[in-house]
Homo-oligomer: 101 residues x 2
DNA sequence: TTCGATATATCGTTGACCGATATATCTCGC
DNA sequence: GCGAGATATATCGGTCAACGATATATCGAA
């Protein structure tokens, strides 16, 4: 799993969000350093839904503009936790290695 | 930068290694969980050399088999350190986020 | 009325990654 | 002496996530 997908799952970890909201949250989360474009987002959303990691929470029409909210599935949360542990282990390894000099 | 490339740089962080040695070190480092295939390795080596992140250290012929040793450049080490910090920040964020529940 | 933000969607391209395959030599066990 | 597996480098083609560009539509602010 690459960074954009990881960030999308992470953005959904506290509550359901719609696509654009995920974009904003990912930007906010990363302190503005990571930006996900729409081309990345909607493709990833489709893949994640097909994989059963996220699902449609609800669909709203607000001010004539549709908003499609997604939420993490239980499985999606599990995947996110595992991925976080995997990444944590790798980073820990790197820090340990780079400290020896 | 994706995991395989990150691991290759990390494997070279303590001393020069030849291609196959990088494969073994990456496997060792990750506790056997991450495996880099030759198709990934040699392509990545070429890219990293072109980017100036690694360079040829020496070439040996041992037992009739060639061994091509690569080493991190100063720039490559810098990139590795930055990438580690970037990954660390992201993982820290994820852990913090997942702890709230 | 023009711009930027909000909101979703598609399209084509790129490029890292990956499995498979190839070649060649050495060592170990039988 | 022979085969298997480890050592070592290399290429090739396919896949797929990511990405930039573009499109559509609405709203509020300047």
């Amino acid at each position: 799993m690459q960074d954009p997908t990881f960030l999308i799952l992470l953005a959904l970890s506290d509550r359901p969000r719609h696509g654009y909201g995920i974009l904003l949250e990912a930007k906010e989360l990363s302190g503005g350093t990571i930006r996900i474009g729409p081309g990345t987002l909607y493709g990833a959303l489709e893949r994640l839904e097909e994989a059963g990691h996220i699902e449609l929470d609800r669909e709203e029409i607000e001010d004539g503009r549709p908003r499609r909210y997604y939420r993490l599935t239980r499985r999606g949360r599990g995947v996110l936790v595992e991925e976080t542990q995997r990444r944590d282990a790798l980073v820990g390894l790197a820090k340990q290695r780079l400290a020896h000099r």
